[in-house]
């Protein structure tokens, strides 16, 4: 049997998709089992775990408008926007169900055995079972991705609702996990769109719809058209709002109006494979584009279509197995984006127009897709611009390193800079300011999501950030206490520490799986605070503690050994407390 090629370097065996789909459907029949577990063939390397869905409203929305919650940081330490420390949000109800699976010791054991046997683990699920599969896959990646000889898992969902917000998607892309997630969606399937509606607007109808999925009677419920309309309307709000953003609208009315309504936080993640209904599969892996397709592909051509389309939107949710069987006989997957190739704007070529037609997309939709594509290109260009600044950064850092060593015959560069009475100190300050300008700009771009999602995972930037923080932060602290800013804004570590240092510290901590602790580059802030508290209770003990930490930091190169120079403030502080040797 053949394979399905997704994007540039992703291939999935057709038999895996088929097996996963059938197991995903089968799992519903054994709700008491939480999950099913099987190999494809005894000889094949894949092991499939499939999760049952639930058809009770409480298992979809845990309360509130969208039932979202901050992710459990212990279970999912990577699901955040690292530098700015924004924690991702996931659907609470799905998360609870996943926790229940995880609480089953058998599950973890079986997964572990599969890893030990060096098998490729495939998580799958249909409907809300797909949501569990997604969370299970993230968990699996968190636990295993750093092991030697790690084999990438695969997550195949069929008609899954949305699980997490945009931060989750960014995090998966940063960790390079995004490609493990492949979501199959029938063009009209209502379920992935339901996540874009606040519960208040669909509450009373949702249970009837879920009941329909459960009992699968001949006729969909009578209010299916109303339900469809409500869901599409909410989807249109979210998609139009997002489209204004990706098209670069800066009209303040957009923000004002959006603060008056509830917009779903959920966004697609991973790769989407849309089943067009004409026997084709269309792949999209740009989350902005997927969101637009989710809305635009559910628009009607004529008013008369409303009832039949609304009914299909429910029926199709149960149709994956049959449809895919048909479709995968001669699998042709076209991709809407070829970002990394120097192709002309994709949306203007005849082939793609056909795909857009098959997905039922209008000209307005294709314009939104162009915008999503343009934004991604723009982010890559921004990254290039920023990369170009590396030389400037290196140059300034070089100057400051020279400054540091030139001060080593005095009391060290911290104290020299704090008193700032030489021309060199002034030049060092100019370098410090120049660097601050560049780094602040990077932080601003991160805040506005103007850099590629992968940016925060790039080793070269993490290294450069660490080097910058170690050399320059002491100067910022010196400047802070020199100007007594602590008396305006409180101590440095409280409100005084610039984001550029917090951010670069977080990058390193995340990349090296360190705990969030007091960074060595803030050593001088601690010294200054102890100096201010001189003589009060406990200061001596704190100095002793700091002394032990300094040794560790010097070993790790977090702190230079110039802090131990005879006349440095640190040594003076020790002498003052009778602690110097």
């Amino acid at each position: 049997m053949g394979t399905v090629k997704l994007g540039e370097n992703m291939e999935i065996k057709v038999e895996v998709i088929k097996k996963a789909c059938s197991m995903a459907m089968k799992a519903h029949k054994y709700p008491e089992k939480q999950y099913l577990f099987d190999k494809i063939k005894s000889s094949s390397p894949e092991v499939v775990f499939s999760f049952a869905g639930s058809l009770s409203v409480h298992d979809w929305f845990a309360g509130g408008s969208f039932g979202d919650m901050e992710v459990d940081r212990r279970l999912f330490p990577s699901l955040k926007y690292v530098g700015l420390d924004e924690i991702g949000r996931v659907n609470e109800a799905f998360f609870k169900r996943f926790k229940a699976v995880l609480a089953n010791p058998k599950f973890e054991l079986e997964v572990k055995k599969a890893v030990d046997d060096r098998r490729k683990v495939v998580f799958t699920g249909h409907s809300s079972g797909g949501a569990i599969a997604i969370l299970a896959t993230v968990w699996f990646l968190e636990v295993n991705s750093r092991l030697p000889n790690f084999i990438e898992p695969l997550c195949l969902t069929f008609g899954s609702p949305l699980v997490g917000d945009r931060i989750i998607n960014i995090a998966l892309r940063r960790e390079k996990w995004s490609r493990c997630f492949v979501n199959f969606v029938m063009r009209l399937d209502i379920v992935p769109r339901i996540s874009l509606s606040p519960l208040s607007s669909i509450g009373h109808q949702l249970q009837r719809v879920l009941d329909y999925f459960n009992q699968n009677p001949q006729q969909p419920p009578a209010d299916a058209p109303d339900f469809y309309e409500t869901v599409v309307k909410n989807a249109s709000s979210v998609a139009n709002y997002a489209a204004c953003k990706i098209m670069g609208s800066t009209n303040p009315l957009l923000e004002t109006a959006s603060s008056f309504i509830e917009l779903s936080p959920y966004r697609p993640l991973g790769t989407y494979v849309f089943c067009t209904g004409t026997g084709k599969l269309v792949e999209i892996s740009n989350a902005d584009a997927v969101l637009q397709v989710l809305f635009y592909s559910s628009q009607l051509s004529t008013e008369e279509e409303k009832v039949p389309v609304a009914q299909t939107s429910l029926r199709d949710h149960l149709n994956y197995e049959n449809y895919l069987k048909e479709c995968l006989r001669t699998p042709i997957v076209t991709s809407l984006f070829h970002l990394h190739q120097e192709a002309p704007p994709v949306t203007s070529t005849a082939n793609v127009d056909m795909d857009l037609n098959d997905l039922g997309l209008s000209e307005r939709a294709s314009l939104c897709l162009r915008a999503a594509e343009a934004l991604e290109r723009q982010k890559l260009r921004n990254q290039n611009t920023i990369d170009g600044k590396q030389i400037d950064i290196e140059k300034c850092l070089g100057n400051l390193e020279k400054y540091k060593s030139s001060c080593a015959h005095k009391a060290g560069y911290y104290d020299a800079f704090k008193s700032s009475d030489q021309k060199e100190d002034f030049h060092a300050n100019v370098n410090r300011l120049e660097l601050a300008g560049i780094w602040d700009e990077i932080i601003e771009m991160l805040k506005r999501h103007e850099l590629p999602d992968e940016f925060e995972g790039q080793k070269k930037w993490i290294r450069l950030g660490t080097r910058y923080r170690r050399i320059v932060e002491p100067l910022d602290i010196a400047n802070y206490y020199r100007h007594l800013k602590n008396e305006d804004t409180g101590h440095y570590m409280g409100k005084g520490r610039p984001r550029r240092y917090k951010c670069t510290q977080k990058w390193r901590e995340h990349a090296e799986k360190l705990r969030d602790e007091f960074p060595g580059s803030c050593f001088w802030a601690e010294v200054e605070e102890l100096w201010i508290r001189s003589g009060s209770q406990g200061t001596r003990e704190s100095i002793l503690q700091l002394k032990t930490k300094v040794e560790k930091w010097i070993g790790e190169e977090e702190v230079g050994d110039d802090v131990l120079l005879e006349n440095s403030t640190f040594m003076k502080l020790q002498r003052q407390h009778g602690l110097a040797s």
């Binding site: 008056f260 100019v430 008396e487």
Partner: protein, 625 residues
């Protein structure tokens, strides 16, 4: 960065977004309610966490002039003496004051002085997280004024409340200064005026209505009658073809004249503000550039007819209903090939939504109009990023001034940087500092220009980076500006610095600094601040010095007492500042202007007390002459 390849036309997308929310239909529902049966002229209602206040469009002010020609000043205080619309009155020199239409203002004032209105609003403000003011026709201007009033109120109380104003077919309200003040306060995004394709009402005030006063009166009567009882069916307008055609032509001609005269605003003329959501039977677009709004009003009206221009004022229910349900159906582009460029394709689709086909003669001008409305050049975020780069380039100049201050503070002449700069010679260092001062001033003036012309993100003045940078700049450099002012004797020709010489940028930075979301904590300083926290301190010293000189030459005792009162007031103020160490070390340098003044002051005070002992008791107010 190239912006061309990634520009998109978003006027239509924004309108689609608004139409997909319940905001428009909910507002219209309440407007209708207010029009039809509201004895008090408004309806207040809470939907979810959003409070709605809808004003009736059928209120008449007795004795008001039907030609609407009277523009009056926006009031500064209400009947009880409370300040109103404070931020809006903050105009530039030489600008016309903020003017609004008199009769429309009166309707709001009547509403405002109604205790029941006040009560309901304050309840609504307490119970909701956000408030929407809305109104149809003349109710729209009442809603706008109410929103402006609440926005001003919130600003002075820093309450956390979102305000939005949605009007339907509202007449124009005020002049260019009002429009500009709203932009300056960054309130443009709080106003969304829904205007149907042909509706005459929003356009009517572009024309001087005196010559057709009686006709307008008739027209308003007709509209009001229909609005209060929409079910009477079409009234006898059809018979009045002639009267309708006359009004229509009259407004159209004046509107054309205005558009042809170019973009320059005329004093004494009405000017739109906020966003205009133009809707047709085929969709809607949202435009926020005043010049483009006027032009679009003209172009759309030109495609209409007298009767539809009058009926359209009554059809907002249909329009809102239609655009609110358009999300469900695919809108295909039937008018031939879409342009290859994303931007042009967006424009073509926007025109389609306005119901303009590319064959129509207005298509070309309408396209031009949208293109002109699009913010030219870089987007605000890009501008902001660029400014950040410029800031980091300009920072070394600031560092040089800091360095200069440090050198002066350490120098043997013990004058501090204020006096050193004021008495500077022709040394290279001094002129370098002066040059840097100019460079920094130019940079910050540019920042303010960009900000006020809406080319920066709307919350720019809330970005910590900019608030802190501007404050730091002000602390460091304003003393030098003051030094320069008094060095060159400007105070003799123009008057003292604080009231007559202070650059506008410093006032703006004061506002930014106060507007930041942190509470000032009471921190005691252990050493002198690195920069004097009151940036006008030196100007106050100069004024006090002037007062001491005056007091020497004054013979009249009462005048002299008055001067002494002022002098003592400053002396005690300065003393508290110095004691709290809120000043920088240079203030108390041995030979600083302040130290010299203080010496002078103490001596004179001593002298005065010695020779005129009765004076001190007089000063204490015990003897009433």
């Amino acid at each position: 960065m190239d912006t061309e390849s990634s520009t998109f036309e978003t006027t239509e997308m924004l309108a689609d977004f608004l139409a997909s929310t319940p905001l428009l239909s909910e507002s219209w529902r309440l407007c209708n309610l207010a029009n039809q049966n509201s004895p008090v002229g408004f309806v207040a209602n809470q939907v979810g966490s959003v409070g709605y206040v809808a004003f009736s469009g059928t209120l008449f002010v007795s004795g008001s002039d039907p030609s609407f020609k009277n523009l009056v000043c926006l009031p500064v205080r209400d009947g009880a003496g409370n300040y109103l619309f404070v931020p809006l009155h903050d105009k530039n020199e030489g600008e016309e004051p903020v003017l609004v239409q008199g009769a429309l203002l009166r309707i709001f004032e009547n509403m405002y002085s109604n205790p029941s209105f006040q009560n309901q609003i304050s309840t609504l403000v307490k119970t909701s997280k956000s408030v929407i003011f809305t109104g149809h026709s003349i109710g729209g201007t009442t809603a706008s004024l109410a929103a402006l009033w609440l926005l001003s109120y919130i600003q002075s109380n820093s309450a956390n409340l979102s305000v939005l104003c949605i009007t339907f077919g509202s007449p124009l309200l005020g002049n260019e200064t009002l429009s500009r003040a709203i932009l300056r306060e960054r309130w443009g995004g709080k106003f969304c005026h829904v205007v149907s394709k042909y509706d005459l009402m929003p356009r009517i005030l572009f024309a001087p209505l005196d010559p057709i006063g009686p006709l307008i009166k008739l027209l308003l009567k007709f509209w009001h009658l229909y609005m209060t009882s929409p079910h009477c069916g079409p009234l006898d307008v059809q018979r009045n073809e002639e009267f309708m055609a006359e009004i229509f032509q009259f407004v159209l001609i004046h509107l054309r004249g205005l558009v042809e005269a170019g973009e320059e605003a005329v004093t004494g003329m009405f000017r739109p503000f906020g966003n205009y959501l133009f809707c047709s039977g085929d969709g809607a677009i949202c435009v926020d550039n005043a010049a483009a709004v006027i032009k679009m009003m003209y172009l759309l009206l030109e495609t209409g007819s007298p009767s539809c221009s009058i009926e359209d004022h009554l059809k907002y229910g249909d329009y809102v209903g239609r655009i609110s349900s358009q999300f469900l159906e695919k809108k295909s582009f039937m008018l031939g090939e879409l342009p290859e460029s994303s931007y042009e394709a967006g424009v073509a689709l926007a025109l389609q939504s306005l119901g303009i086909s590319s064959q129509e003669p207005v298509a070309g001008p309408a396209e031009d109009c949208l293109q002109a409305a699009r913010r030219m050049g870089r987007t605000p975020n890009l501008n902001c990023a660029n400014l950040a780069i410029k800031l980091s380039k300009i920072n070394p100049y600031r560092a040089e001034i800091e360095w200069y201050k440090a050198l002066c503070d350490r120098s043997d002449d013990q004058m501090g940087y204020y006096d050193s700069f004021k008495q500077r010679g022709a040394s290279k260092r001094d002129s370098k500092v002066n040059l840097n001062r100019h460079k920094l001033a130019r940079f910050w003036d540019d920042v303010i220009n960009l900000f006020e012309s809406n080319q920066l993100p709307h919350d720019f003045h809330r970005h910590g980076k900019w608030v802190y940078s501007s404050q730091f700049y002000k602390l460091l450099v304003e003393p030098l500006d003051i030094a320069e002012y008094y060095r060159t004797g400007m105070h003799c020709s123009k008057g003292h610095y604080i009231n007559h010489g202070r650059e506008r940028r410093y006032q703006i930075f004061d506002r930014w600094w106060k507007g930041r979301n942190v509470r000032d904590e009471d921190n005691r300083r252990s050493k002198f601040a690195s920069l004097t926290q009151d940036t006008c301190f030196w100007a106050k010293v100069e004024e006090a010095r002037g007062l001491l000189d005056d007091v020497r030459s004054v013979r009249d005792q009462r005048h002299s007492a008055l001067l002494w009162e002022k002098i003592d007031c400053f002396a005690s103020y300065a003393k508290t500042l110095v004691e709290a160490k809120e000043v920088s070390i240079d203030v108390v340098a041995k030979n600083s202007s302040y130290s010299l003044w203080l010496k002078d002051y103490n001596e004179m005070k001593l002298q005065m007390l010695r020779f005129r002992p009765q004076f001190s008791s007089f000063m204490n107010g015990e003897i009433v002459p």
